[in-house]
Every structure is written in structure tokens, then in C-alpha cells.
């Protein structure tokens, strides 16, 4: 509503929490986002940044049976993505395939590839490439799935329980190590080795909302926390943070490392509706921002999604020479 907005906006019909970069799409910079509406029919939007970078075009609009709490695009197949949804009483997750479009735009149905039949909070794909395994988490358990797109099935390979008290809420898969995954819990960030499916390490830190591995530097992890901002950790000495960055006035909801530029960290939070970058603050938001994604194709571009359903694409290019 105020001037000076440099971003490209796109409005969803309903409130929304999640946005994901379509990593497998090498031709266009595209994002997937899904709505969070309790009573209406929810939608998944496939958005594409026009080649001039000046417009955000809706490439596909698909209806989704439930409100979407989390969404992740498959890193090796641009038509496949996962959602975590709520039926009102419980959470579930599914893998979907976008149908062939053939130029039409009339809300075709998504094809359900597989259902991860559990009480799921979060679904993770391995970020670094083709890997037919998936991780899902619910409050107490972590599951490793084997996904077979061809015969539309997913089965649990192994699982481990984090314990009643930990209530896992999300996590990140180490891009440097296919066997390492981090999960955020009530009072700590926990690390699993997927080969043994055992907990190997943890950072005692309460109220971590978001976690991300640095894709450029091994062992470096960033966390976003409710009250105390953003911390950078070296997992080899996990007792104290390496660095403390000022967070948001209120909670910092999510934090993402840039896939290309080392040290470029993007946190979003629930106050003043802003996306804060150490280089710049983007404050042109009307509500809390929960969704956040860097484009892997154009690493200076990121998409953010505020609760009121506004997708904003921003470019950090003007600030990059300073890095």
C-alpha cells in the first residue's frame, strides 16, 4: 500500500503459509505455493517469473483437497511435489504430480502419487539432487520413505522415535550428506544419521522455528528462534553458536541460506511483516511472513509469502556487489 515497492507481487485468494522453489525447472524461475483456508477449496499455484523478470505469471492452478501447511517441490522432477495438509483434526502428507497441462488452465486435478500415511508435520526432500527417499516427521517420530513414482507408492524404510517430549516441528536435510538430517523440536535441534536411524547429536536450544544448512559450507547450520534471533552454528562444536545475528522484533519464523552466495541469509518473521536481510530490509508486508524460498535458477531472486496470501518476488541483485 505504500510506495517504493520494488518487488513483483501476486495475490492468492486465501491465506497461505508455504512457498517452494521449483528446483527441477531449469527453463524458468518458478515457485509453487498453496493456500491455507479452513472452509474454502484450497489451491496450489504454479507461478513463473516472466523472462524479463517483471511479471509473475500463474502457470497452473490446481485444487487441493485440504488446507496446506507445508509444501515442497521435488528437486529432480518439476512436476512432483509434496504437501502437508490438515483435515481440521489431523495432519497428513501426500506426494502429488502436476498433470500435463497442454495449454489449458482450468483447474485440473492433481494426481496423487502417494500418501504418506502418518500424522505428518513436515516433509523433506534431499536438496542436492536425485534421491528417491523422503523424510517425514510428526511430533514424535521421524520416518524415512522410499518413493517409487512409477508405481505410485511410498513405503516406510525406517523410523525412529524422538520421544514424547520433543514434539518435532520441522527440519532440514544436509545437502552435503545424504545421511544427515536436522529436526527442530521443543527444546533442541536434533540430528539423525539415516543409515542407523539414530540420533547422533543435538543443539540445546529452545523454540527453534526454522533451520537450514549452508549449502556452500559443510557443518554450518543456521537456526531461527522465537525470541533470540538467528544463530549460526558449526556442528563440529555445537555447544555455542559461532555467530549471533539480530533477529526480528518478534519471532523469526524461517531462515534460508542462499544456494549460491555464501553468507547470504534470509530470515522472515512475524513482526512488522518484513523480510530482513543483513544487506537490506524489506518491509512491504501487511502480515506475518511464513513462506520463503530462494530461486535456485536465479540465486539472487527470492519469493516470500505473507499470511494474507501475497507472494512477493524480490531481487537482491543491487546489493550483491557489496558481498
Amino acid at each position: 500500500m505504500q510506495g517504493g515497492s520494488s518487488g513483483i507481487g501476486y495475490g492468492l485468494k486465501y491465506q497461505a503459509r508455504c512457498i517452494s522453489d521449483v528446483k527441477a525447472d531449469t527453463d524458468y524461475t518458478s515457485f509453487l505455493t498453496g493456500t491455507l483456508s479452513l472452509k474454502e477449496e484450497n489451491e496450489v499455484h504454479l507461478l513463473r517469473l516472466s523472462s524479463g523478470g517483471s511479471e509473475l505469471i500463474c502457470e497452473g492452478l490446481f485444487s487441493h483437497p485440504n488446507e496446506i501447511w507445508d509444501l515442497a517441490s521435488c528437486p529432480f522432477d518439476q512436476r512432483i511435489f509434496s504437501t502437508v495438509f490438515s483435515t481440521g483434526e489431523s495432519f497428513g502428507a501426500a506426494i502429488w504430480q502436476i498433470p500435463e497441462l497442454y495449454g489449458q488452465l482450468n483447474s485440473p486435478q492433481l494426481e496423487r502419487v502417494a500418501s504418506l500415511d502418518a500424522h505428518v508435520d513436515s516433509v523433506l526432500w534431499w536438496p542436492s539432487g536425485r534421491c528417491d527417499k523422503l523424510i517425514s516427521m510428526d511430533e514424535q517420530n521421524i520416518f524415512l520413505w522410499s518413493l517409487a513414482c512409477s508405481n505410485k507408492s511410498a513405503e516406510v524404510l525406517s523410523k525412529d522415535s524422538a520421544g514424547m517430549l520433543h514434539s518435532l516441528s520441522g527440519g532440514a536435510w544436509d545437502p552435503h550428506d545424504v545421511n544427515a538430517v536436522a529436526a527442530t523440536g521443543e527444546s533442541s535441534v536434533q540430528f539423525w544419521d539415516l543409515r542407523t536411524m539414530k540420533k547422533v547429536n543435538s543443539i540445546e536450544r529452545a523454540h527453534v522455528r526454522g533451520v537450514d544448512y549452508n549449502p556452500k559450507r559443510e557443518h554450518i547450520l543456521i537456526t531461527a528462534e522465537d525470541e533470540s534471533g538467528i544463530h549460526v552454528w558449526d556442528l563440529r562444536k555445537a555447544k555455542a553458536p559461532v555467530q549471533e545475528l539480530p533477529g526480528h522484533t518478534h519471532w523469526t519464523w524461517a531462515v534460508k541460506c542462499n544456494p549460491e552466495y555464501d553468507g547470504l541469509i534470509l530470515p522472515v518473521g512475524s513482526t512488522r511483516q518484513r523480510v530482513n536481510l543483513l544487506l537490506n530490509s524489506y518491509t512491504d508486508y501487511e502480515d506475518s511472513v511464513y513462506g520463503l524460498a530462494w530461486s535456485s535458477r536465479e540465486p539472487w531472486v527470492f519469493a516470500s509469502l505473507s499470511y494474507d496470501g501475497r507472494v512477493v518476488i524480490e531481487s537482491v541483485k543491487p546489493f550483491l556487489p557489496r558481498l
Binding site: 500500500m1 483456508s37 479452513l38 523454540h207 553458536p241 494474507d308
Partner: protein, 772 residues
Amino acid sequence: MATEAAPMDEKAKRMRDLLSSFYTPDPSISTPTSSISTSFDNINGPSFDADQYMDLMIKKSNLDVLLQRHVQMAAEIKNLDTDLQMLVYENYNKFISATDTIKRMKSNIFGMEGNMDQLLHKIMSVQSRSDGVNTSLFEKREHIEKLHRTRNLLRKVQFIYDLPARLQKCIKSEAYGDAVRFYTGAMPILKVYGDTSFKDCRRASEEAIETIIKNLQTKLFSDSESIQARAEAAVLLKQLDVPVDSLKDKLLEKLEQSLDGLQINPDEASKLAEHNVSSKDEESNNQGPAKIHEDAVRGFSEAMRAYREIFPDSEERLFKLARALTTTHFENMELYIRKRVSAADFLGIFRIIWEDVVLMDEVLPEAALSDLSAEAAQVTLKQFVARTFSHLQQDISDTLLKFDINQKEVVDGEVLKVVLEASGKAEFRQLLDENTGIFVKMNDLLIGWIQKGFQDFFRSLESHFLVLSGKTSSSNETEGLVEGKSSEKIHAGLILVLAQLSVVIEQKVIPRIAEEITASFSGGNSQAFIPGELCRVFHAASEKLLQHYIDTRTQKISNVLRKRFKTPNWVKHKEPREVHMYVDMLLQQLEEVGKEVKQILPQGTFRKHKRSDSNGSNTTTSSRSTTLHSDKMARSNSQRARSQLFETHLAKLFKQKVEIFTKVEFTQESVVTTTVKLCLKSLQEYVRLQTFNRSGFQQIQLDIQFLKAPLKETVEDEAAIDFLLDEVIVAASERCLDVTPLEPPILDKLIQAKLAKSKEHNNNNNKTTVSS
């Protein structure tokens, strides 16, 4: 003579020429006269042209003048002639008299030869007579000489025989000097003939000498003897070939041992210092340990003076001793100041040491004791300054750690701190005012140290504050670990105190110190104390700490909220019967914050009514939004959620963009308000994560409605609070499957019931406290 004069005419002419050239330094004057006087052809002057001269005369002058000139010239010529004649006469006279004299000499020399022969003859006879006398006397002279030698020998023998007795006499009269002189004189003889003819004599004298040596040694060792006497004794001993070095060693060892007694015991130093100070005040109290110490050192230095004179070659050793004493002094000093020492005591000890050094320096100026002690003093002083600062910091952190909820003490603590600062300054000023020799030299250095000390002190104080607050710095990992563990235990109030302290330091203490420094500690070439930088540091620290306080507080409240929203299944919520417990807890926490804040932070400059004037527009918009909102709530029954969302957007559009999170200020109101805002925001976020049924929504509605009144009471920015409370309701309605708000009468009833209950509860509480 006249005849002789004629032939000399030619000669005279030549003479005249020579004379003229000799007597006239300026030829231009003489030549014309001479040329005129002789003939016009003859030119004596080097550049004279007679024709030209004539022409000139004739042309220039009339006849009268020419005639006059002629007369004049003729007169001059005549004069010259007379002069010349006079000269010739005089010379001729002299020549005549010379010739006469020669003639007389010729006649006188006649007859001298004969006299000379006579003289020679007489001299020859004198010589032969003298030879005769010489030969006749030779024999007698030989004899006399022999007798004389014998007499000398006999005299020596007599001396040696007398030696023992003489020595005894000397011993009796203590004329050791004479005795030694005698003995050493007799030594060569005794050495040669000691074993034969003078055996007894030698033994006796050796015995006597032994007594003498013994006496001399006692004399040397006795402190009561005058230095002069002792020195003499030493010299005599040396002359007697007694091994003096061993004696010297013995004496010096004794001296060295006495050093132990001279040391300043660190444990007793304060007593010493005290007495030193007090003895200054009242001269009667002279028998204090300080006096004793001074006497001891005086004695020591006297001894050194004596030894130095006695054994000139022992200087090195004495230097070493003096240096050792000085060094141990400073070492002990260092031990002493490891404990807490006031500047007065420190100076007291320092003064004593300096006096000692001065005493010793008088005796041994070459030992460069003052340089040595100046160096040592620098080190000690530097340490003292550093220690004083660290004690200061220790005091502060002790005071802070003793911190109690009972917050009156906090204020005291603050006062204490300021006092500490002042005392610190006073101590340093005392140091500076001290004009003991060393200090004068070190003033500049001292100023530098003090400035740097303050700078470092404040810097470390700041980091110490951060550590105390549990806001660990990542730079120090081990520390971070330890602090991280204990951070749970750190009382939130302490953080607030630290924040406020930082403000005090920034605004009052540092400027005051800066003032003090410019007043009393300026002049050093180093400007190590940079108040601007420190102010910035503490400003940043205070903001960080305040933020940290708010964070810690909201974290606690967040935990309450988290539990509230995680445990029940909101979709299956039962009808609300009363305001939920967590509201009480929330209010209680906020009350605690309010309490802490009230005791520590100052009040804001403006109170509510004033602020609502200035922010009037905000209040109105918010009230409008409330009405708008309640309208919406009323209608929301029949309306679809879709349009509701739209309406929410619309409402936001109409609302002024309320800047919810403004900068936190160091006022009670600002801190409380910020805390409340953050809590409400958290509440909203928690609500957004849930899905509610009708009753669940109603419960939220009830809780929020109840919260409204007490929150507004405590808070500065009502508009923002209204807005945030509404946001919670909106969030709940958005996440609600069936939005049916409670009817206002029921809402009212439930709230009244809750109020009554809490009142009763309070009363009960009061009663129990009274009864107990």
C-alpha cells in the same frame, strides 16, 4: 774637512737621489720640487714632464703668479741644499770619531800577552797543592765511613732486639699503626736472619703482632668503633698480610643475613603503612614498626657505607646487596597488593621503600638504585592501578550478584557503584598527588595508565555485564558454555538492573570520569581514555541488555502460552465456563515485569493522557476499527468466511498502519508496553497455528475480552494494544470452523464472575499473609 767635502759632491748627489726617493713616499710632491731645484732636463720623478708642467703653468697663470712661483721654488731649493749639507756634516763627524777610537784601541792592546802567561802558571800550582791534600786525607775518610756503616747496622740490630718491647708498648697505647710500621720495617731482616740470630726476638715480636692482629680484627668487627678506626684497622690488617677477603666475606655475609630482617613482610605491611601514616600525624608515636624499620635500614646503609670505605673493592657486592633489598622490597610490595590495599596504604609502603632507597642511594650512588627502583616502581604501580580497577570491577559484580528481588538494594547498589567510582578516582588522585621522588618522574606514565585503566575497565565492565546477563558472547567459547548453562538461573531483574546501570554509566559516570580525567589526569601524552567510544559501547550495551530483558521476560510468557495452546484439542473444545487460568499467569508475569520495571527504570516523561492527546488520531482509528470489527463479528454468523477475509483486508486498509513495534525506551511504560505487545503477538501466532471449534473460539474471545481492561491499564499505547487484541480475535475467527461469538451479556457475566473470584482470591491471600 771642507776639502774632503768637495770630492764628496758626486757621492752627495747620488745620496740626495736616494734620500729623495726614500724620504718622499709620494713622488708627485717631491719630484716637481727636486726637478725644479736641479735642472729641467733631469727628471727624477717617474712621470714628470717638465715641459708639460711649464706649459700648464704658463697657460694657467699670469705673470705675477709665475714670478711668485719662481721665488717660492728658489727658496725651497735653498732649503733643500742646507738640509743636505747638514746631513753630510753629521755623518762625516761620526766617521771621524770612529777613526779616533780605532787608533786608541791599537795602543791599549799592547802588553796583554805577558799577564796571561802569569795567570796560567799560578793556576797550575794551585792544582798540584790540592792533589796533595786529597791523597793525605783519603785514608781517614775511608775509616770514618766504615765506622758509620757499622753504627747503622748496630742501630738496626738494636731496633730488632727492641721490637717486641716496642710492640708491647704500642699495644698498650693502641698505637697499632706504629706497631705495624715497625713490624713491617723489621720484616726483611727477620725474614733473612729470623731462623738464626734473632730467633727469640722474632718469636716475641710475632706473638705481639698476633695480639695486634687479634685486636685489630675485633676492632674491625665491632660496630661501636668509628668507621675511621675500623677502616684503619682493615688497612693495617691488610698491611700485615692477613687475608682480609675472608674477613670481608664474613662481614658481608652478616650484612646479607641482616637483609631478611629488613624485608617488608607483606602480611604486616598494612600495619607498617598504618603506623607510617599515623606517625606522620603525631611525632610522639615514634616507636611504631615503621620507625623501627627505618632505623634498621638506616643501620644497614650505615654499615654499607662503612664497608664501602673499609673494603673499596667490595662495591660490587654491596651494590648487589642493595639491589637485592630493593628488589625484594618491590616483590613484597607486589605480594602485598595482591590483597586489597587502599591507595593510602599503598603509598605508605611505597614511601617507606622510597625512603630506604634514598638512604641506600646516598651511600651507593653508583648502584643506580633509583633507576632500578624507578623501574620496579613502574611495574608495581602499573600493577596497582590494574588491580585497583579489577577490584573495582569485582566489587561491582559482587554487589550485582548479591542482587535480591528486594530491590531497594538495587538502588543502593547503584549508589555504591557511584561511590566506588568516586573512591577509585580519589585513590588515583592520591597517587598522583604523591610527590615522592619516583612519582614525580612517573606522573605522565601514571596518567597514561590511569586513562588506559579506565578505558579497559569500562570495556571489560561492559563485557562483564553481558556475561552476567547471560547474553553470552560467542568469542569465548568455554565461557559461553558455562554461562549458557547458568543462563536459566539468571534473574530477569538482574538484566534490567544491568541495563539501567549501563545507562547510568553512559550518561553520568563516564562524563564524570571524563571530567575528572581532564581535571586531574590530563597532560599525559597518551589519550587512552576515549569517553565518546565508551559512551557508544555502553549505549549499545544498554539497548542490548534491555532487549535481552524483554526477550527473557517474553520467553517466559511464551512458555505459558505455548503450553496453553499445545495441550488441549481446540477442535473439540467444550463450552467456555470461565476465563482460563493462563490469563492469570500472563497477568501475573506482566505484573512482575511491572514491579521490576517500577523499581529500576525511571517513569516516562509523558503520562497516558498526554500521550493520547498527541496520538489522538491513532486512538480514534483504533476505536473505529473496533466498531468495525464488532460489526463484522455480529454479521459473521451469516456471512461466509471468504468475504470475512476480504473484510479483514479492508479493515486493515482503513486502519492507519499502526507501527506496533516502536523503539524501546528506558522508561517503565515503554518496557511494559513492548512486553505486552510481544506477548499479544505471540498469542496471535499461537492462535494461527490452531483450528478452533465454536467453543474454542468463544474461549479465546472471553480470555481476550478479560485481558483488555488490565492490559490497557498498564500500557502506554492503548491503540496498539487494542489492535493486537483484535488481531488475536481475528486470527481465532479465521481459524475457526464455526464462528459464533458469545453474546455480550454472557461474556459480561463470565468476566464479572472471574473478577469477583480473583478479588476473593486476593482477599484470601491478604488474609493469609496477615495471619501468618
